[in-house]
Symmetry: C2
Subunit: 394 residues, 2 copies
């Protein structure tokens, strides 16, 4: 293959393998080019998961992930696999081994992650759409800070076979596109009919908005008003205790991650970047503690959110609290960005809900910001239809 | 809870936990009682996976498997979790720790597995239907030898979140029922519309029939003829090299199992029954060998089977080569039963195809035998409809 710098100025694609598969000659996505995060299996290729020791200790997949197969069967061409944060356990998109994909819409800033390469490739025009995965925000956050559309689907909605598990009770398939109609067309290939309807209006989550920086709140205002204009404005609501829910999420996620990957980490002792190494150390520690009330809390939270959605219809919130941080992000600033972001993203993750990021027209310091729609579990296609409809109204 | 022997004469349910959840007040499955193999998560309960050390080293699930949730939302009541072979890595249904569920239709004989308790509960009338999983035959084989209907779904078709992975590229959700119309009604809840159609007639796989004992072949003849009468008889076909395909399957499966569970096995050193212990030792050894041509062979096999299905329509084969073995099965007899059975079941497993077991009216030594229909990937609901139609014709 050609040296990556010749063909991949975005540094969006994995450097060690070229994965190209032509789509079927006919189909709803004929002629479109897509990329897949390098945690999706393609038969005959080792799925690298963002870590060279993972790559070295795993065999080629013998089957292709169903999501990839469906897109190929619909005529789309797979043009490559994209860089992911190591084992998808980060929101930053700074891969210690393979570098940081370029965020073309926020020069000098990170693309966020963990579906960093997929977001970068779509934002930069190297792909028409791209598959990612979202456990705690890994599609939603890069979509927001890269200024593109993205969906995290209802948990259990899109077949997740052939996708590396991170924390299986939270893991979902998602995807990015620049055009919301294409986002919806991909949804029509990957998902059958909705099992829940969007009924009602739109209500803002006021405590989620309060977590966003004031300029972000201001930039999202016209788009939020447009959604309310279309659906009807309902009184604002509060989730309440977002920081506690975030901690509940992080603990449950860490336990599942250690159950999934801890033994491999102990056995292989892979070389991780410092941030990821610290995160696995933390997961190990959490897994060693007695179980707290998190499991019961999660069940209660699902009921709370289902009730709010029945009352409101669609819930609105900022996708991320800030624009993309600078590429040198580390230390306390990284921790603060992560905590505030997870306080927003944990809502849909804990309650297994679909969430779509809409890029705002307004920017902050020239950088993208995104508004999110959350709908009931199983309303994914209606949410995608709504995103397309809103774009036409603008 | 009451002592198990008081409430569970079939020994179908796990003894260490009582998992009861009422279904929604309305729905397509209202009033029906179902059970779930103890590899399906239910929030707040530890999923035991058939091994006490697994039970002791895992936390309660924080989310319920989507498949279970869908059934509850359709009004069915979950009445318990059923015994599985350890980590689902067997076809026998003889759990070293929890005993062997009763096969009411073949007294003194094993129910086969690994979805042994689910098959036992349905055959014995303790549940109307039950969830299982099928990696290499774990729904199909117990359905056949217990004399009930069962489906292994197209790989990637039914959401598998919250289900313990065994060998993820082969793992599927399946279920059992005594009534084929109920089998289809459950399918209408768990699966959206088919993505492939059943077109053509029915062709027997002659080399698969040749693997079955002659009395089994004879007992299946009237049912096979009835299928051919309905769909139109096509010339018999041969897969060719079934024993080699079986070895390809076993090696790929063993590698995936060791990747999935090897580190846990090394770390915890769980107490396994002798057969399961030997199987994990073998998986460890296979995983340490250089990769052979299995990955390419699997891809080629998928193309081969897709071509045969295009030509034939539906393929017919014996689900298992023998009636249920006696409960004392072990050693060379167990190995022989396993090898011959896997030579039949590996077809749908390697090619990710749906397969439905139809119990024959005829028996062998008074014990059930089953005929299987294999259809194209994504034709699951049509296959279930066909099974229901055939039962009405009898």
């Amino acid at each position: 293959m050609m040296p990556p710098q010749m063909t991949d100025p975005l540094n969006a694609f994995i450097p060690h393998d070229e994965v190209l598969l032509p789509g079927a000659p006919e189909g709803a996505l004929r002629g479109l080019r897509f990329a897949a995060k390098d945690i999706f299996d393609v038969a005959g290729h080792v799925t690298g998961c963002g870590n060279p020791d993972w790559l070295a200790t795993h065999l080629p997949a013998s089957a292709t992930a169903s999501a990839v197969e469906r897109l190929l069967a619909a005529g789309a061409d797979l043009i490559g696999k994209t860089i992911t944060d190591e084992l998808a356990y980060s929101l930053n998109g700074q891969n210690f081994h393979y570098g940081t994909p370029v965020n073309v819409n926020a020069p000098g800033r990170i693309p966020c992650g963990s579906s960093s390469g997929s977001a970068s490739a779509v934002a930069g025009g190297a792909a028409d759409f791209a598959l990612g995965s979202d456990t705690g925000g890994s599609v939603r956050v890069p979509a927001a800070v890269c200024g593109i559309y993205g969906i995290r689907t209802s948990h259990g909605r899109v077949a997740i076979d052939g996708v590396m598990p991170l924390a299986a009770s939270f893991d979902t398939v998602g995807w990015f596109a620049r055009d919301p109609r294409l986002l919806a067309r991909v949804g029509a290939v990957l998902m059958e009919e909705d099992t829940a309807r969007l009924v009602g209006g739109a209500a803002r989550l006021s405590d989620a908005f309060a977590l966003a920086a004031p300029p972000v709140q201001a930039a999202l205002e016209p788009l939020a008003a447009r959604v309310e204009g279309l659906l009807g404005r309902r009184p604002a609501m509060q989730v309440g205790g977002l920081e506690d829910w975030m901690i509940t999420f992080r603990k449950l996620q860490a336990r599942e991650i250690w159950t999934q990957h801890g033994a491999w980490v102990e056995q292989v002792r892979p070389r991780f970047g410092p941030e990821i190494a610290a995160r696995f150390e933390w997961a190990r520690a959490v897994a060693g503690q007695p179980v707290g009330p998190e499991i019961q809390r999660r069940t209660a939270f699902g009921g709370l959110m289902a009730g709010m959605l029945r009352e409101a219809g669609v819930l609105l919130l900022p996708t991320a609290p800030e624009i993309a941080p600078w590429r040198g992000l580390q230390g306390a600033a990284a921790q603060s960005f992560r905590d505030r972001t997870l306080s927003l993203t944990c809502i849909a993750s804990l309650a297994r809900l679909p969430q779509v990021n809409l890029p705002a027209e307004a920017t902050v310091n020239g950088c993208p910001v995104g508004l999110s729609l959350i709908g009931p579990r199983g309303s994914d296609r209606a949410l995608l239809g709504l995103a397309a409809q809103l774009a036409q109204l603008s």
